[in-house]
């Protein structure tokens, strides 16, 4: 005889519910300690002037937020974050879509090529950053040696405020390209051949078939790639911390996460850091909601 109970008009087996509770316990515990409590705590900390160096910790209301909205470096961090994602995404999107379309055609060594394009995604960012630090060396870096070879002026790359963020962006494109290629490729391979054949029967040339049939069918992936790209640029930290520690010349590579890290862990300003982290969270949250809505409205389904 199986014991049962009824809740909201549905019947459940007692033993099964107990088993489910046992199996879910580890997840619930980690979720509470690693997400729920920290999120509550970061909110309460953002209203304090907690300073790790002096040990001071008082409630100061919205002063941290007032500080951030007048802080030039914070403003720069927000502008830099959007500049970075605009540069990285536009280059990334065009290249990854183009390469994915080529990879989708009938070519030899297809799998090997895909493996190569994806390889930089897999390698630890620190290790590949070390290679690129050398590439960007103004004296003996290969990039400047190539520029010199073509008679062009040398650049300071990571060491000048005008080129530092661009250098980080170029690295990010190389590092992340394979990921978007794989996403687009999966999308292209999901388009049934019959769609293209139908387009050809209707008299479309290959250009028309691509722009009128294939590209619209890829729009859900494209919108996903764009929004995830923007959201991910609010998470970029490793390559900046390795290649331009401290936020680069004149804060030129100061992105939002770097700002939070510096306030909290370099300056010991836990309150300010928390407030900045919350603003970052709010921006990412709005973007995530936007992404969901945009992909619901503008996307072409079959």
């Amino acid at each position: 005889m199986v014991r049962k109970y009824v809740l909201n008009g549905r019947s459940y087996e007692t033993a099964q519910t107990v088993a489910a509770a046992v199996f879910l316990l580890p997840t619930i515990v980690t979720m509470i300690f690693l997400f729920v409590l920290p999120v509550i705590q970061v909110i309460t900390m953002s209203f304090t002037n907690w300073n790790l160096a002096t040990g001071v910790r008082n409630y100061i209301g919205l002063k941290n937020f007032e500080y951030l909205f007048t802080d030039k470096t914070f403003g720069k961090a927000i502008v830099n974050t959007f500049t970075y994602s605009a540069f990285k995404l536009s280059l990334d999107l065009v290249l990854s879509l183009f390469i994915a379309v080529l990879l989708d055609s009938y070519i030899p060594l297809k799998r090997m090529l895909r493996t190569i394009y994806f390889a930089p995604v897999v390698v630890p960012i620190v290790a590949s950053s070390l290679i690129w630090i050398w590439f960007y060396d103004p004296g003996i870096g290969p990039f400047n040696q190539i520029l010199t070879f073509f008679g062009l002026p040398k650049l300071q790359w990571l060491y000048h405020e005008n080129t530092a963020l661009l250098s980080i962006g170029l690295f990010s494109v190389w590092k992340g390209l394979g990921y978007n290629i794989v996403l687009f490729l999966a999308g292209l391979q999901n388009i049934p051949d019959s769609y293209m054949e139908a387009a050809y029967i209707d008299g479309a040339n290959s250009k028309q078939a691509f722009f009128r049939v294939k590209l619209p069918l890829l729009s859900p992936i494209a919108s996903f790639v764009i929004m995830m790209g923007i959201i991910n640029s609010f998470k970029v930290f490793t390559e900046i911390n390795v290649m331009t520690p401290g936020g680069g010349p004149l804060n030129s590579t100061m992105l939002l996460v770097v700002y939070v890290y510096q306030q909290a862990f370099t300056n010991g300003r836990m309150g300010r850091g928390s407030a900045a982290a919350l603003i970052l969270f709010a921006i990412v949250f709005i973007l995530t909601v936007l992404q969901k809505n945009i992909s619901r409205k503008t996307v072409h389904y079959e």
Binding site: L7, N8, Y12, E13, Q16, T17, A19, A20, A21, F23, L24, T27, T30, M31, L34, F35, L37, P38, V42, M45, L102, S105, Y106, I107, P108, L109, L113, T115, Y117, A119, P120, V122, V123, P124, I125, V126, A127, S128, L130, I131, I133, W134, D137, I140, W174, L177, Y179, V182, I201, M228, K235, T238, N241, V242, V260, Y261, A264, L280, V284, F285
Partner: protein
Amino acid sequence: MKRKLKRYNIPAFIFLAAGSALMLFPFVWMVLSAFKTPADVYAYPPKWIPSSFKFDNFNEVFNKIPFWRYYANSIFTSVCQTFLQIFISVTAAYALAKLKFPGSGKVFAFIQSSMFIPAVVTMIPLFVVVSSLKLVDTYAGIILPQISGAFTTILIYSFFVSVPNELLDAAKIDGCGYYSMLSRIMLPNATTAISTAMLFAFLSHWRSYTWPLIVTNKTELRTLPIGLKYLVQETSSEYQLMMAASLMAIIPILIVYIFTEKQFVRSLTLTGLKA
């Protein structure tokens, strides 16, 4: 209708091959440069091929930094994190996919919502808790805050759902309980999913940077990425040493990737999320 013969698209291949050479260039540069002497590094015009293939740079890396200690730290923390994360994910995925209980939809949404919280938001409070528990510069401090796995839970869940209920019913009739059902029915039927999830978890822990950076001060506790980061300061532009160290850090991961490429790429596209 005229049927096209299947012929290789040669221009596409040439373009892709050239592009893949560019993508590989940094790795080729690293491998060659790991053997270069300081004179090779500063030579102009640039020297592509090192003047000799000696392992001096590697030995110098071992002299300068406790490289194998970093390696062992990385392996130990990543393995522990992967094991804990997969344990948590598998149990939750089983309950959500195959057990009937009130509020399962809400629990699922709760787990899913954690994926939208950027790590930087929880980083400061987690550091405060870890340091008040005196866990800074300990393995527990590195490992425990990084074991939650919404991504792996959902990945395993999506495979568990497709295990036929008839199998479970048959096992039930044979006297199998809910606990042994997981080990006897679910796990053997979802080995691909679980190995994919393990691979994914391991690689993301192996790459993990920000948290170990915050929570370690002592050299002995550094993981490989943190050790590599400090190598930049400790060697001051001795690029040949940086390349030798990077090469040793990258090789195992590249080998794993090449052998599990299909699985790895599939796991990424399946849920469409980035580590």
